[in-house]
Symmetry: C2
Subunit: 155 residues, 2 copies
């Protein structure tokens, strides 16, 4: 895939995230893209991302859902504003709440496919629902409420 | 603290978790203890557990809540059964659902203190609520529905 991922457009000060920052050398560096109306992220767990041997630990699944969802929220807000991604001032979202339902054990020896949908977009709030599929089965479902940053984080 | 943590009692096949397994050399190795009716875990984020620089990323907070909660569920179930922790057959829980509300940015330059409470314990299900405090402020709240394993995970 030659197109840039949502996360490749983040300004430098927003590119240090452990989950999705291209500048975090220790991090997961997840990448998300549009496929029509869905956002898609494919991520291959490391062997040490174990829960019980053979399966992915829930914290990793939560982490990938979280960053995929805030990225999807940003991409959706750029779309809604009819602005190209990466145009300034930057549109960036943080997580207000994260919910994950773990439906079945997630095998560790296969890539995860996350597919996100924008459930709601209103004002500064975007709600993203995501499925996490492995080996053809939906293993987890996530819902993230993302809120647009209007000032520097922590200010 | 000389007492053993909940996680130090897990059988070897349940001690590989990235979040809480004492045998996972890459993992977070969180440790939880009773303090009266609350379970407590203190965890110091690494500098690379960044969201936006200066703050902890939400996936780490979700991960620590998750493992602290399943550990608390196991400890609570041993208590309820009036059995010493570590006695066999092992009582172990997995996460059915995880919810996190992020209340404010969590500083990365201080330890996190998680305090868990058992909200419900009934049959195979234990619900644990957790606060995550940093520098004296509650930065996040979690709720985990944990389900007791009755057969090998994934079987």
């Amino acid at each position: 895939m030659n197109e840039k991922a949502f996360q490749d457009y983040y300004n430098e000060e927003h590119a240090a995230c452990y989950g999705c920052g291209r500048l975090n050398t220790h991090g997961l560096k997840i990448k998300s893209y549009w496929e029509g109306e869905e956002s898609v992220c494919r991520f291959t767990p490391a062997p040490y991302h174990t829960a019980i041997p053979g399966f992915v630990y829930g914290g990793l699944i939560a982490s990938v859902i979280d960053c995929h969802s805030t990225g999807t929220a940003a991409a959706a807000a750029y779309r809604a504003a009819e602005r190209p991604m990466g145009s300034q001032p930057e549109i960036r979202f943080v997580t207000a709440s994260l919910h994950v339902d773990y439906l079945r054990p997630t095998p560790i020896d296969a890539p995860l496919e996350l597919r996100g949908k924008v459930k709601e977009i209103k004002g500064r709030k975007v709600v993203v629902t995501t499925t996490v599929t492995s080996k053809g089965e939906v293993c987890a479902r996530g819902e993230v409420v993302a809120i647009q940053l209007t000032k520097p984080f922590g200010a």
